[in-house]
Structures are given as structure tokens and as C-alpha cells.
């Protein structure tokens, strides 16, 4: 404890004198005395060496990607992260700053967020982006609330090809404002049923939500979906790293694009933190219903360019119960990782990484099919993950793979009865051909 608390006995004495109290305890006199406690029932403090030893031991019991090959996705992915990303983002000047309330001494934060907003607009093909939300799922939930706020309609349609945890999150969020939620089924190609969608859209519908690529890895046909859902808000959940090769949702008619930014240079971190991104079409009315911080360009008194938080009248600290969201701290640091990542890889790198992912996953599928144990579940085109049906005992298979240094695939059978015997495999640019061969060789002898 001591290394963080500076008070010496001498300090204490002088300070108490200044306040004119006898002791520190007396400063707590406003707490009802019958409720005052005197200690916390936790062990005493430990020194750094022993804390780190203890934590290192815990960390070492986890099977991590520096030692295992990961063929698992489903929302979090093992991508290659350039060393420069972590090294720059771990500058205390960034990570020990807070929300840039004082713009004049926060231009580092503000400019980087402004650049981030631009990059998100560029990769999604949208006009306006905010400075981040918590994660992909909560971004989606806020997008759905925004759609109802904007349209004043309280019925939404959600593709059942969306990440199940995203749907669960949305369900929680729509309970308060009582938005009705209806699912759209999918066809055998793994894309949502356009027929089902068409039949369910009505004039009470605020929005349609689809994922691109979807939870099963399949690339939805956004153009046709847009064509059907003319007068509703089309919300697209997307994996940004796929957008180096896939057409931008904004170009295909999305009104809102949200998603999780983990794939842009952020470690898997057991699922968090990453950040949610949130982009809308260019529309100055729409933007006023948007949640979250937004950074804008302006000038200082000398006419010099600078950046500030803007449109704050939407936010909780000003609008309180009428705010567009309750979000306060967002996930700004994650956006810094993403900005550095995207600056390093550039348009060409992002494209190449997309190509690597799609090539590796398709090669993996081909090799899996050859083993005779796996059949492709959906015929639709996919990006870096795909569903296969297997005749193997899934949990046994996973155990054997683990013994051979392999983590994955994701077992879908538990989540959903219709998915019995199905697994979701993922391959990214981090999976070498040796890893794939290793995986196949283990499966071949099962």
C-alpha cells in the first residue's frame, strides 16, 4: 500500500492541525456510528514481488495464444498485432488521462479520437462516427434504442444470424422502453430469409438488424435487405477487419453500422475490454439522437485548429433524463489501439489481412472436409469463420485438440438444438499453415 500513499507522520500531524481535528477518525463522524466498521475483512497488503508472483501463477494456468494455436472466433479473434500498437498505447500520457474535459491540455486525446472517427467512417462507408461505446453488443443495443427514439416506433426485427450474446444484450435493453423484438429466420445458405423479413416488416417497425459477416461467418446480402426494408432504419453489425475486402456497409445502404473493435489491434483479453464503434449516415438530425461522445474540429482564439467534445447537449451531464444515453466513460483507449493499428496497416494492409483471413479459412474448410468428418453447414460465402457439422464427439475432439496444443473450435450444439453436432471454426492471418496441418493431422486419426 505504502508506495502509493505519500503521507508521512509529519504530514499527518501538520494536516490535522490545519483542519483542526484530533485524528483522522473524527473526519468520518457523519457516518451513522452504529454502522461504522473498523476494518475490511481482507488480508493485509502485499509487496509488489509477491503480488506479481501470485498473479503470474494464475496467468500461467491459462492456456494462452503465445503457446497454443487458436481456431476459435465468435466475436473475439486472435489477430496479429504490430508491436508498435501496444508500445505506443502504453504511454502514460494517454492511458492515465481521462475524458478530455479540458480540451486545451487534451489535444492528444481529442485529435486521436477525431482521427479515429474519420477512420471508422472510412472503413464502414458511413458519414459520422462517435468516439466509441463499450463493446459491439452494447453499441448495438444503443443503436436499437436510437432507432426507436428517432422513428418513435417500438418494434424491431433482428436476424437470428446475429451473435447470440448481442441478441441477449438487445433484449435486455429493449425491456425498459418496451420495444417489441422479433426474429428473422435464416435460409440454408446461412443468410437471413428475405421472405421472412419481407413478411415481418410493417409500419410499426423501427429497424432491422443484421450482422455482416454474420455469427456463422456468412456474408449477408445487405443490398437485398436494404431493398426490402425501405422505410426502416437498417442497422448493420460488422467486423471491421473484414471491411478491407468486403464492400463497406455504408455503400450497401446501412443507416447505422456498429460493431466491436477488438479485431483492430486489441488483445483478446478474455473478452474485454475492446470498444464498440458506432457510425451513422451523414445526417445532422440523426446525429442529434446519437449516443456517446463526439469530437469536433474548431479553432482557438488565435485561429489555430483544435478539437473539442461537441454536441454535448445530447449527453447525460447536460440533458440528464432526456439524454440520448447514459454513457459517460466510453472506451477511448481501445480506439487508440485501433487508430494506431489502422494507421500502421493502411488500406493495403487491411486488404491483405482480409485476403489472408479468407484464404486461410477457406483452406481450412477444404482440409477439414477432406478428413471426412466435417460437412459445411451453410452454402453462403464466408469470411474467416464457418460452421461445419461433424460426426465426431465434439467435446472429446476438443480435448484431444487441446492436448495437441490447439484451442477451438466453438461448440454450437449447446446454444441451440438445431445446431447439434455443429461447430464454428475460425482461421485468421495468425494461423500458420503448420498449425492447420497440425490440426488436420490430429483430426485425421480420430
Amino acid at each position: 500500500m505504502e508506495p502509493y500513499i505519500p503521507h508521512t507522520d509529519q504530514d499527518l500531524k501538520e494536516m490535522l492541525e490545519t483542519i483542526d481535528v484530533e485524528n483522522v477518525e473524527s473526519l468520518f463522524s457523519t457516518i451513522p456510528s452504529e454502522k461504522v466498521i473498523n476494518s475490511i475483512d481482507l488480508p493485509n497488503g502485499m509487496d509488489e514481488f509477491n503480488v506479481l508472483s501470485k498473479l503470474r501463477k494464475m496467468a500461467l494456468t491459462n492456456a494462452s495464444a503465445d503457446k497454443y494455436a487458436f481456431f476459435i472466433g465468435g466475436g473475439i479473434y486472435n489477430h496479429v498485432i504490430p508491436s508498435a500498437v501496444n508500445q505506443i498505447a502504453s504511454r502514460g500520457d494517454f492511458y492515465t488521462a481521462y475524458t478530455p474535459y479540458q480540451a486545451e491540455v487534451s489535444q492528444g486525446t481529442l485529435q486521436s479520437l477525431f482521427e479515429f472517427q474519420t477512420m471508422i467512417c472510412e472503413i464502414t462507408g458511413m458519414g459520422i462516427a462517435n468516439a466509441s461505446m463499450y463493446d459491439g453488443a452494447s453499441s448495438l443495443a444503443e443503436a436499437v434504442l436510437m432507432a426507436s427514439r428517432y422513428t418513435q416506433k417500438y418494434r424491431m426485427l433482428v436476424a437470428d444470424t446475429i451473435h447470440p450474446e448481442y441478441i441477449e444484450t438487445v433484449k435486455t435493453y429493449v425491456a425498459g422502453p418496451k420495444i417489441e423484438i422479433e426474429k428473422i429466420s435464416h435460409d440454408s445458405d446461412g443468410k437471413i430469409s428475405l421472405k421472412d423479413l419481407k413478411s415481418k416488416i410493417d409500419d410499426k417497425t423501427s429497424c432491422v438488424v443484421v450482422q455482416y459477416p454474420n455469427f456463422y461467418g456468412v456474408i449477408e446480402d445487405l443490398k437485398s435487405i436494404r431493398g426490402i426494408s425501405k422505410d426502416v432504419i437498417l442497422i448493420v453489425v460488422s467486423n471491421p477487419i473484414s471491411l478491407g475486402i468486403l464492400e463497406a456497409p455504408g455503400k450497401l445502404g446501412a443507416d447505422v453500422v456498429v460493431g466491436d473493435g477488438q479485431t483492430l489491434g486489441i488483445s483478446m483479453n478474455f473478452g474485454g475490454p475492446s470498444f464498440g464503434f458506432f457510425a451513422i449516415r451523414e445526417d445532422t438530425k440523426f446525429v442529434r439522437t446519437m449516443p456517446g461522445r463526439i469530437i469536433g474540429e474548431t479553432v482557438d482564439v488565435d485561429g489555430k485548429r483544435g478539437f473539442v467534445m461537441t454536441l454535448q447537449a445530447r449527453e447525460q451531464h447536460i440533458r440528464r433524463e432526456k439524454a440520448t444515453s447514459n454513457i459517460c466513460s466510453n472506451h477511448a483507449l481501445g480506439t487508440l489501439y485501433a487508430s494506431i493499428y489502422l494507421s500502421l496497416v493502411g488500406p493495403k494492409g487491411l486488404k491483405e489481412i482480409g485476403e489472408l483471413n479468407i484464404s486461410k479459412s477457406h483452406y481450412l474448410l477444404k482440409r477439414l472436409e477432406k478428413t471426412g468428418h466435417f460437412v459445411r453447414a451453410f452454402s453462403g460465402e464466408f469470411f474467416n469463420e464457418f460452421v461445419v457439422k461433424t460426426d465426431l464427439d465434439i467435446s472429446k475432439m476438443k480435448k484431444v485438440l487441446f492436448k495437441n496444443g490447439i484451442i477451438g473450435p466453438l461448440d454450437l450444439s449447446k446454444a441451440n438444438d438445431s445446431m447439434k453436432g455443429h461447430v464454428l471454426f475460425c482461421a485468421t492471418e495468425s494461423n500458420t499453415s503448420e498449425e492447420i496441418e497440425k490440426l488436420i493431422s490430429v483430426l485425421e486419426v480420430m
Binding site: H7, Q107, D302, S329, P347, I407, E429
Partner: protein
């Protein structure tokens, strides 16, 4: 500084992905992106320089004193960063089998237990990603509880006028009407008012205690009784938990739901505005409403517990901001029960010391009793010189300290909300007092100096109005 797009040159590269070592797959044109995104094209060196230079424009806890009220800008220990960076914590996937992540689950379990002990609550979820997210989750639990009891008419959430904006916003998001309750002249919830306000529509009250004036609401037990008697529940906004560790537990004070701001109380870095983590704790009778999963332990094995039968569902994907949790847990281990208590004591001592010193220069309302970890001062008397609180704090930037929070809570005019935290030394506080004194003098002698401040920052006073009018939200 130039924008990163402005230093881009077509054809440059900052990172080379691995070469393709399997067959190349040719995506059909119908899916292919037509126009590549206009991302910057730079070398690694260009990128490193750009962000390194940007970072040097920032103020941060690692740079100096940051008494931003309500935000608990305490020092963020470096050992926490070391721990979070362990491969075994940073390179694991949320969907790998439980038996391959026992260490991660153990850490989360231990953290849940520690937070339960500190708060006096019975069950805990680590899922929420920030304070406001915790609020959202907690109020959703309250709503689910009432609805579970078929108590559908409760649609009002009582919130003091001193509350943080996230409280009323949270209520709204959960479908509640936010009912504002006035503070009395001592800055406490006005008990008479409260008695009038409660009714069968009352779902509960959201209370910050110590409140945003830095005062511990002495009537908390009475408030608890009034709300409970009316069938409502008590929500504890734990943003100010740094004031009472080892001194009081919300659970003992009658609260049914509490959120923590790990990034405040438990020293995890604020990351330019997040990520934080906002775990919530609840009393036993609310446990079944918690979002899933929480972390359980059985036969020395840790597991993800999806069994909460009345769960509100999820408020996000996966299990929470794990690497933030690692840092908070490292902090708790380092501080220990004794250290955490001392942290609260010294945080409160610092605030009272600073209040005593500053009250010689600025007006300090509500100063009849000790404050807790923060206090509010006002520059209202300087309005006569044409100096606003904003001018006052902008001048602080010239002296190299970060200003306090301004214009919050709303019930004090021209206020500065000052939270020194326990990691600041008397020496630092004394220097801050000197600066405040100097500026107060300048305000009277040369108000222009303040009105035109800051003078020596990377940019000078920025035009907020223009930003909001001529919306430029991206580079083009």
C-alpha cells in the same frame, strides 16, 4: 499538429502482414470492396512519431495533479500494468473451455468476493463496462425485481438534484420517470420532501453517498426506511466509494444494489475516457436477477455460472472488462484490507485539508461538517470581476495543474468540485493552494488574464460554439 491523414503518402506501409502460406482464395467480385478506405499510408516510424507527439499534448495523472471531482484520478500503479500484460491474461479467448482458463476465472471469483466483503453485498457481477453501465444494470435488476413481483405500476425513480447526470439518464433508459428530489440547505436529501414524493409508483432511489458535494448523507438510514417502506429499493452509486472503504458498507446502510467504479476506487487507468469497469453487487434477494454469467466455484474448480433464473439477460458480450479486473485485483492484493482503509482515510484527510486551506481564498459552501473525499468551492463572488469558474480553471492550465470539475453538481453556482485523492502529497496540495491563491488575486487585479486563459497550452481557448454549429466531425 497535422492530422495523420495529412502526412500520408500513397504507397507507404507501416506493417507487413505475414505472407500467404496456403492456397489463395478468390472472393467473387459481388462481395468485394470497390474503393479502399482512405486510411493513412505511413511507415511505422511516421505512426510512432505522430502518436508520440500527440501524447505529449496530453495532461494525465502521470504528468501531474488531477483533482477532477467525482472522477477519483488517483495514481495508477505500474505493477497493475505488468500483470494485465501477462500473456496468460491478455491472450486468452472468452470461449475457450473453462478448464483452460482456471486462473482467469479464479481471479474474477476472488475479485467478486473481495468486492462483496467491502460493500456488504451478497452477490456480484463483473460484467458492466463502466459506472453508468453498472447503473444501467443495477436499475434493470430493480425493474426486473418489481416486474417479477407483478408490481408493474412502479415507474418512478427518485434521484437527488445533486446526482450525476448518468443517474437520471439511466432511469430513463430503463423506462423509468426520473423524479428529482431537492437537497436541503445542508446538501442532504430533503427528508420532508422525500416523504412527500414517495408513493406506490416509487421503484426506488438512486443515491450517491457521499454525495457529489462530498458530503456523507447522515440521513441515509432514514432514507432507506422511507423508500423500503414505500416498497422501493435503494441503489448506491459507488462512484464515491473511495471515501468509505473500511469505514462503512453500503450493504449495512440499507442499499440493495451498488455499483463500483473500478477505474476510480481501484486505481485502474482512465484511458482517456475508458475502459472502466462497473461491477454491481446486490443483496441475496436480487441475486437471481443478475446478468449472466457470473463466476462460481465448486470443488476447487471455477466455472461460469449461468444459473440465475430471473436474470435480466446480458448487458454486453462476454464477461466484463477482464484486463481492467486484473488491474483492480492486483491493486486490492497490494493494498490489502489495511491499505484500502488507509486509502479512504487519507483521501478524506486530503480533501479536508485542502478545503481548510482553500476556504481562505474561495467560498466553500456546506462546510459545517467534515467533507469526505471531495468538496465543492465556488468562484461566484468573482463574477463581479467578470470572471467565471471556467475562466478560473482555464488559468490553472497555465500553472500546469489539471482543473477540478466545474459546473457540477448543478446545485452550486460557479462551482469547482475538488477531489485530491489519497495519492497526492501535502506538498502537491500546498502547491495547488498557492496556485489557487495566485489566480484569485489575478482575478481581481487582472481579470483579462483569466478570461483569455490559457496562454501557454498547446492550443488556447477553443471555440465550443463554432464546433457545435459548423459540425466538422471527421477529416475529409
Amino acid at each position: 499538429m497535422e492530422l495523420i491523414f495529412e502526412i500520408s503518402t500513397a504507397g507507404r506501409r507501416g506493417f507487413i502482414p505475414p505472407k500467404l502460406d496456403v492456397d489463395s482464395y478468390n472472393l467473387s467480385d459481388e462481395f468485394k470492396r470497390a474503393v479502399p478506405p482512405k486510411l493513412p499510408e505511413l511507415t511505422e516510424g511516421d505512426v510512432v512519431r505522430h502518436y508520440t507527439n500527440l501524447s505529449r499534448l496530453n495532461y494525465a495523472v502521470d504528468i501531474g495533479f488531477y483533482p477532477l471531482g467525482s472522477c477519483t484520478m488517483k495514481y495508477n500503479p505500474k505493477l497493475n500494468e505488468s500483470a494485465a500484460a501477462f500473456d496468460g491474461f491478455s491472450k486468452i479467448h472468452p470461449y475457450q473451455d473453462e478448464n483452460t482458463v482456471q486462473g482467469a476465472l479464479e481471479l474474477m471469483y476472488n475479485l467478486q468476493e473481495a468486492l462483496k466483503i467491502m460493500s456488504g453485498m451478497d452477490a456480484m457481477t463483473l460484467q458492466p463496462a463502466a459506472g453508468a453501465h453498472g447503473e444501467y444494470t443495477g436499475v434493470a435488476v430493480i425493474r426486473a425485481y418489481h416486474e417479477h413481483k407483478k408490481d408493474f405500476e412502479r415507474d418512478e425513480m427518485i434521484i437527488p438534484d445533486s446526482a450525476h447526470g448518468t443517474n437520471p439518464a439511466t432511469a430513463t433508459m430503463n423506462g423509468y420517470k426520473a423524479i428529482e428530489i431537492k437537497s436541503d440547505k445542508n446538501g442532504m436529501v430533503d427528508i420532508d420532501e422525500l416523504k412527500k414524493i414517495v408513493n406506490p409508483h416509487t421503484a426506488g432511489i438512486m443515491l450517491t453517498n457521499p454525495n457529489t458535494l462530498g458530503l456523507f448523507d447522515e440521513n441515509v438510514l432514514q432514507i432507506s426506511k422511507i423508500i423500503h417502506d414505500a416498497g422501493g429499493l435503494l441503489y448506491y452509486d459507488g462512484a464515491n466509494f473511495n471515501a468509505i472503504m473500511g469505514k462503512a458498507r453500503p450493504g449495512d446502510l440499507g442499499f440493495d444494489v451498488v455499483h463500483f467504479n473500478l477505474h476510480k476506487t481501484f486505481s485502474t487507468p482512465h484511458g482517456m475516457g475508458g475502459p472502466g469497469a462497473g461491477p454491481i453487487g446486490v443483496k441475496k434477494f436480487l441475486e437471481s436477477f443478475l446478468p449472466v454469467p457470473t463466476v462460481g466455484k465448486k470443488d476447487e474448480k471455477y466455472f461460469l455460472d449461468y444459473s440465475h433464473k430471473n436474470t435480466i439477460g446480458r448487458v454486453r458480450s462476454f464477461y466484463g472488462n477482464f484486463s481492467v479486473l486484473v488491474r483492480a485485483y492486483a491493486y486490492i492484493l497490494t493494498m490489502g484490507g489495511d491499505g484500502l482503509k488507509r486509502a479512504s482515510e487519507m483521501a478524506v484527510l486530503n480533501a479536508n485539508y485542502l478545503r481548510a486551506k482553500i476556504s481562505k481564498t474561495l467560498e466553500v459552501p456546506y462546510d459545517t461538517k467534515p467533507c469526505m473525499h471531495e468538496f465543492v468551492a465556488t468562484t461566484e463572488p468573482l463574477l463581479g470581476y467578470g470572471v467565471k469558474a471556467l475562466d478560473f480553471v482555464k488559468r490553472m492550465l497555465d500553472y500546469g495543474v489539471h482543473p477540478p470539475t466545474v459546473y457540477f453538481p448543478l446545485i452550486v453556482h460557479e462551482d469547482l468540485m475538488i477531489e485530491p485523492t489519497e495519492t497526492e502529497s501535502k506538498m502537491t496540495l500546498d502547491k495547488f493552494v498557492e496556485i489557487v491563491e495566485k489566480i484569485a488575486k489575478e482575478a481581481k487585479e487582472n481579470p483579462k488574464l483569466l478570461q483569455e486563459a490559457p496562454h501557454i497550452t498547446p492550443v488556447r481557448r477553443l471555440d465550443d460554439v463554432r464546433a457545435a454549429k459548423q459540425l466538422i466531425l471527421r477529416w475529409k
